[in-house]
Symmetry: C2
Subunit: 154 residues, 2 copies
C-alpha cells in the first residue's frame, strides 16, 4: 500500500537522521538502506525539491537533513515524495456528490486520514530513540556472530 | 493507496447490497458502478473465488451477494481482492530483525493495521443505512434536474 518510493525515502531520511555529524554520500546511503543507487538519487532529488534534505556537490559536500529530526515527521517525508491520496471528491464523478462523499468513500477516506494521523504523530527523532531492540537499517552484532559464514570457492 | 481493484470491488458489492431482491447482470453492475465491463468481470471472479458473491449462469441467473450485508465488512471485500499488505518481516531482510520490526517499519505497519481496523468495523449494511445524504453510486434527483441537458446535434 505504501509505494517503493515512500519506503526508500523513509529509509534514506532515517539513515541521515542517524548520521548527522557528517554529510553522507549517495553511495553510503545506498549501502545502508539497500536501495539501488539510481532509484535513491531520484528519491533524494524529490526530497531536496521539498526542502527535506540538502544536496551539496563537491569536496566536503554530500547529503544531509535540512530539518532537525525532532521537527521532521514521517508524514512530512511521505508527503514530499508520494502524498497519501485522500479522497476529496466523488471517484464516480457523480455531480450530486461532489465533495459530499457517500458513506463508502467517506469511510475509505477516513481510513486514509488515520494513516496521515499516525504518520503526523511520529518524528524521526522518536524513531531513533525508540526502545525497540531492532535498530533501523542495522543488523545487530549478535546476528553477525551467529549468521552463516560466506561460502568459500574451493 | 487503495488499488483500482479495491475501489471497483467495493462499488460492486455496494451495488449488490442495495439490490438484493433480484440477481444482477454484469452489465447492470457495470452501468451503476461506472466500471469497465471486462475489469468488472475479473473483479467479480475474484470475489466469487473468495465466497463473497455468487455467479449463476443462464436464465434467471446473475450475480448476487453470498453473504448478508450485515455480516460482510469492507475488510472482507478488500482482503478478497487485494489484501492490505501488512509488514510482517524486515523489508531490508536484515537477519537480526526478522519478525522483530524496527521502529520505522513497526510504525508503518501500525498505520496499515489502523486501516484494517477501520475496514473491519464497518459492514455493508452500515454503509447503506448511513444517514449521509449522498447515496452510494446514485445521483440525487435534485442533481438530475439541475444538470446540464445533453447537447443536441443540429
Amino acid at each position: 500500500m505504501f509505494s517503493q518510493t515512500v519506503e526508500y525515502a523513509l529509509r534514506a531520511v532515517v539513515h541521515l537522521a542517524m548520521r548527522r555529524s557528517e554529510p553522507q554520500t549517495t553511495a553510503m546511503i545506498a549501502e545502508s538502506t539497500k536501495v539501488p543507487t539510481a532509484y535513491l538519487s531520484k528519491v533524494l532529488q524529490g526530497l531536496r525539491a521539498k526542502g527535506i534534505v540538502n544536496l551539496q556537490r563537491g569536496l566536503g559536500g554530500g547529503v544531509s537533513l535540512a530539518i532537525p529530526p525532532d521537527k521532521l515527521t514521517i508524514l512530512d517525508v511521505v508527503t514530499a515524495v508520494d502524498p497519501i491520496p485522500r479522497i476529496r471528491t466523488c471517484p464516480l464523478e457523480l455531480k450530486s456528490h461532489g465533495v459530499r462523499l457517500c458513506a463508502l468513500h467517506f469511510r475509505m477516506d477516513a481510513a486514509l486520514s488515520k494513516v496521515e494521523d499516525a504518520f503526523r504523530s511520529t518524528t524521526l527523532a522518536e524513531l531513533l530513540t525508540d526502545p525497540n531492540p531492532s535498530v533501523p537499517l542495522c543488523n545487530s552484532s549478535e546476528d553477525e556472530e551467529t549468521s552463516t559464514p560466506p561460502a568459500i570457492d574451493e
